[in-house]
C-alpha cells in the first residue's frame, strides 16, 4: 500500500510487455494489489483480509455478466477461491487466450507423440522374441535398442525386420517419413522416393514438401515441435531462476547489493546475444540444442530480474513482511516464501513473453546458421534453406507460420495472464 517514489521513476519499466505500466499518476491500484497478500503465516492475514474487503467492496463483489451458458460463473462472497483460482476463472473467460492455451497444449501433444505421428522407426515391434520401442530413438539415440545397430538395420526397419526375423511384427507411425534423412524408393510399399532439389512441392506423400536434400518438411516440423517447446521452457527456466534470484536479492536488500546487481543487469543487456553464443561455442567442442538454450537463458533474464526487483521493493515494506520478520524469519525465508509468492503473478507474465521470444531467437539463430547441427530438426533451419532456394515457397510458408503461431500463442497467453492477475487491468477490462 505504500507507493514508492521508485514506482514513478522507472520509465525503463515500459517494456513492450507491459505498455500500461509505469508513468501513471497514482491510482488506487496498489490497494487492490494487497488482495494477494493473504499468504502470510503470521495469522495477521485474517485482519488484512477483512480490512481489504471492507475498503474495496467493488472488487470482492466482483461479478461479470456471465456468458449465458454457464450460470455457475459469478463468484460468491462466501466461496473463496484463492488468488489463483480467481485468476484462472478470469483467464478462462478470455477466448483468445484460451484458444492459445489449447494451441500450446496441442503442440505439446504433437511434441510428445512426434515419433508416433511421423517416423520410419516402428512405435512398437516384436523382434527375436522381445518387444522393442525403436521410435524412442528419435528422443534420444541411446534409447533405441542396441540390437538394431548390431543387426545392421542402418535405420531402415521396414524390410530388415521381416528379413531378419520372419515372425516379427511392428506398429508403424501414421506417416512414413523421416526428419533426418531422405526416404528412398521401395522402402514403404507404394511410396516413391522423396523428390530432391526443387521438385519437392507438397504432395500426398510429402504433405509440406521436401527440402533440396529430399528430407520431408512435415517430418522435420513435427519433430521440430519438440525443440521449439523445449527451447522455450528450458531457456526461460534458466532465465527465470537467474532473474528471480537477482531481482529478489536486489529488491530485498537494496543498498550496495542493489546498486551492484542493477549494474550487472545493465551490463548483460549491453552484451549482444550473438557474442555470448559464439563464446559458448568456443568453450565447448560441439554445440547442441542444449547449449543454445543455456545461452538464450543466460542472456534473457534481465527483464525478469527488473520486474522482480520492482515487486520486491514494493512488497518488502508490506505489513506481512514486517510480521514475518517480527516472528524471526530469516531473509531467505522472507524472500522466497513470503514475498516471492505474492510477486509470482507479475513475474509469470514476462516469463510467458520470454518463452515467445526464446522461440523467436532460436528460430533466428538457426536461420543465421548458429543453430544446432543438421540432424537436429529445427524450424529455423528450414527457413534458412528456403531463403537460399526462394522458388521453394513451402520451405518458407510452413515453418514461418509455425514460428509465428507459436510466438503468437505464447504472447496471447501472457497477455491473458497479465489481465487476469493484474488488478489494475482487471478493472480496466470492464
Amino acid at each position: 500500500m505504500t507507493s514508492h517514489p521508485e514506482d514513478h521513476k522507472k520509465p525503463r519499466g515500459n517494456s513492450p510487455e507491459r505498455p500500461g505500466e509505469g508513468p501513471v499518476p497514482p491510482r488506487p491500484a496498489d490497494e487492490a494489489q494487497s488482495r494477494h497478500v493473504p499468504t502470510d503465516p503470521a495469522g495477521l492475514g485474517a485482519a488484512v483480509e477483512s480490512v481489504t474487503q471492507g475498503s474495496m467492496p467493488e472488487v470482492v463483489g466482483f461479478s461479470v455478466p456471465a456468458p449465458s451458458a454457464e450460470p455457475q460463473e459469478p463468484i460468491k462472497d462466501d466461496a473463496p477461491r484463492g488468488y489463483w483460482g480467481e485468476a484462472w476463472l478470469r483467464f478462462r473467460r478470455r477466448k483468445l487466450a484460451m484458444t492459445a492455451l489449447l494451441f500450446v497444449a496441442l503442440l505439446a501433444l504433437v511434441a510428445i507423440f512426434s515419433p508416433a505421428i511421423v517416423g520410419t522407426k516402428p512405435i512398437v515391434c516384436k523382434y527375436k522374441g522381445s518387444i522393442y520401442f525403436p521410435c524412442l530413438g528419435y528422443f534420444n539415440r541411446s534409447w533405441e535398442n542396441a540390437i538394431f545397430t548390431k543387426d545392421r538395420f542402418r535405420n531402415v526397419y521396414v524390410g530388415n525386420l521381416k528379413e531378419k526375423d520372419p515372425d516379427s511384427w511392428a506398429i508403424w507411425p501414421l506417416i512414413y517419413q523421416d526428419p533426418e534423412r531422405r526416404v528412398r524408393d521401395g522402402e514403404w510399399p507404394d511410396q516413391p522416393a522423396n523428390p530432391t532439389r526443387n521438385y519437392g512441392s507438397p504432395s500426398r506423400y510429402n504433405l509440406f514438401g521436401t527440402t533440396p536434400a529430399g528430407v520431408d518438411v512435415f517430418a522435420i516440423m513435427v519433430h521440430g515441435t519438440r525443440i521449439a517447446l523445449l527451447v522455450g521452457f528450458v531457456s526461460m527456466g534458466i532465465a527465470g531462476l537467474i532473474g528471480i534470484t537477482v531481482g529478489a536479492l536486489a529488491g530485498y536488500f537494496r543498498g550496495w547489493v542493489d546498486a551492484l546487481l542493477s549494474r550487472l543487469i545493465e551490463i548483460v543487456m549491453c552484451i549482444p546475444t550473438l557474442v555470448l553464443i559464439l563464446a559458448l561455442i568456443a568453450v565447448l567442442p560441439k554445440i547442441t540444442i542444449w547449449h543454445l538454450m543455456a545461452a538464450i537463458g543466460l542472456t534473457g533474464w534481465t527483464s525478469i530480474a527488473r520486474l522482480t526487483r520492482g515487486e520486491f521493493i514494493k512488497l518488502r515494506e508490506a505489513d506481512f513482511v514486517s510480521a514475518a520478520r517480527a516472528l524471526g524469519a530469516g531473509p531467505g525465508r522472507i524472500m522466497f516464501r513470503h514475498i516471492l509468492r505474492n510477486a509470482m503473478a507479475p513475474v509469470l507474465v514476462p516469463l510467458t513473453f520470454g518463452i515467445a521470444s526464446a522461440i523467436l531467437i532460436e528460430g533466428g539463430l538457426s536461420f543465421l546458421g548458429f543453430g544446432p547441427p543438421p540432424p537436429t530438426p529445427s524450424w529455423g533451419r528450414i527457413l534458412a534453406e528456403g531463403q537460399q532456394n526462394n522458388t521453394m515457397w513451402w520451405l518458407i510458408v510452413f515453418p514461418g507460420l509455425a514460428i509465428f503461431l507459436t510466438v503468437l500463442a505464447y504472447n496471447l497467453i501472457g497477455e491473458g495472464l497479465q489481465e487476469a492477475t493484474d488488478p489494475r487491468l482487471r478493472e480496466a477490462g470492464r
Binding site: 520509465p11 525503463r12 549482444p272 550473438l274 568453450v283 527457413l383
Partner: protein
C-alpha cells in the same frame, strides 16, 4: 541534477570498461584466428609471407596476452583511434562504419518516422472507438503483427512481392545500372529496394506504439479531469486531442530515448536477409571474420547508445513530468 548526471555518467563509463573488456575476452577466446580467416579467403598464389603474418599479428597485438591486447585497444581508443580493420583491407574502422551507417539510417529513420506518424492516429482511433467491432478487429490484427517475427515477415514479403509477383527487387540497396540512372531515378531505385526492409522494420514498432498509446490513453481517459471536461461539455474530439492525448505524451517522449540504440544498430537478421550493407550486416561479418577492431568498435557503439538511451529516458522523464525528481 548536475550531480545526478555526473554520477550516472561516471557509472556508465565504468560499465563501458567492464562491458568492452568482457566482450574482448569473449571474442578473443572464440576459436578462429583472424589471420587464418583472412588467409582462407585469399587465393593460394597470394599467400602472405610468414614475415607479413608476424607483422600482422604484432599490429593487432594478437601475439600478446588478452589483457595486454585489451589495454592497447583502450589506450588507442582514449587517443581517439578506433584502429584499423582487419578484413576490409586495413581501412580505418571509423571509415568502414561510416560507409555503412548511412544505409542503416535509411531504414531505421524512415521506419521510425512511419511508425510514429501512423501509430498516433491509430492509437487515438482505438481509444475513441474502444469496444467497437472495427477497433477490436484492428487491434487483434496489430497484435498478431506484433507477434510475427521480423525474419518470417521478411521471407514472406520476399516470396510474395519479389519472387511471385516480381514487383520489387529481392535484395540489395540498388540495381546494377545504378550509375547510369538520373538523380531521381537513383532515388526511386533505392526507394524501391528499401520498401520491403522498411516494412519489416516498421510493422512491429507500429503495432507496439499504437498499443502503447492506446494503453496509456485508456489510463488517462478514466481520470477525474476527463470526467470534469466531459461534464462541462467539451466535445469528445477535443477531449481526446487536448485533454487526454497531451497527457500520454510523457511516456511517448521517454520512449524515444529507448529507441536510440536500435536506430543505429539496425538489425542483424533483416540486413542479412535483404543483403543490405548496413551496421547489422557489418556486425555479423565482423564476427565471422573475427575482425576484432571493427567488432569492438560496434560493441562500444551499441553499449554507449544503450546506456545513453537509458540515461536520456530517465532525464526526459524528469523534464516532462514534474512529479519526478532526479536525486
Amino acid at each position: 541534477m548536475a550531480q545526478y548526471l555526473i554520477r550516472r555518467l561516471l557509472i556508465a563509463l565504468a560499465m563501458l570498461v567492464v562491458i568492452t573488456f568482457l566482450v574482448y575476452v569473449l571474442i578473443r577466446s572464440t576459436p578462429g584466428d583472424p589471420t587464418l580467416v583472412n588467409i582462407e579467403s585469399m587465393s593460394p598464389d597470394k599467400q602472405p609471407s610468414p614475415e607479413a603474418l608476424r607483422r600482422f599479428r604484432e599490429q593487432y597485438y594478437l601475439d600478446k596476452p588478452i589483457h595486454v591486447g585489451y589495454g592497447m585497444w583502450l589506450a588507442h581508443l582514449l587517443q581517439g583511434d578506433l584502429g584499423q580493420s582487419m578484413a576490409y583491407n586495413g581501412a580505418p574502422v571509423s571509415q568502414v562504419i561510416g560507409e555503412r551507417i548511412g544505409n542503416t539510417l535509411i531504414l531505421t529513420v524512415s521506419s521510425l518516422l512511419l511508425a510514429y506518424i501512423m501509430s498516433i492516429p491509430l492509437g487515438l482511433y482505438f481509444t475513441a472507438r474502444n469496444g467497437t467491432l472495427q477497433e477490436r478487429g484492428l487491434s487483434t490484427l496489430l497484435y498478431m503483427l506484433y507477434s510475427l517475427p521480423s525474419y518470417v515477415a521478411a521471407l514472406f514479403l520476399q516470396l510474395a512481392f519479389a519472387v511471385k509477383l516480381d514487383l520489387l527487387p529481392l535484395f540489395g540497396t540498388h540495381s546494377d545500372n545504378f550509375q547510369q540512372l538520373s538523380f531521381m531515378g537513383q532515388v526511386w531505385d533505392v526507394a524501391k529496394h528499401a520498401v520491403l526492409p522498411v516494412t519489416c522494420f516498421t510493422y512491429g514498432s507500429l503495432a507496439f506504439y499504437s498499443r502503447f498509446i492506446k494503453a496509456n490513453m485508456n489510463e488517462v481517459i478514466r481520470q477525474d479531469f476527463i470526467r470534469t471536461a466531459k461534464a462541462k461539455g467539451v466535445s469528445p474530439r477535443s477531449i481526446i486531442y487536448h485533454h487526454a492525448f497531451r497527457n500520454t505524451l510523457i511516456p511517448l517522449v521517454t520512449q524515444i530515448g529507448l529507441t536510440l540504440p536500435a536506430l543505429l544498430s539496425g538489425s542483424v537478421i533483416l540486413e542479412q536477409i535483404f543483403a543490405w550493407p548496413g551496421i547489422g550486416k557489418l556486425f555479423f561479418e565482423a564476427l565471422g571474420y573475427r575482425d576484432y577492431p571493427i567488432f569492438m568498435s560496434l560493441v562500444l557503439m551499441f553499449s554507449v547508445l544503450t546506456l545513453l538511451g537509458q540515461l536520456l529516458a530517465d532525464v526526459l522523464y524528469a523534464i516532462v513530468d514534474p512529479r519526478v525528481s532526479l536525486t
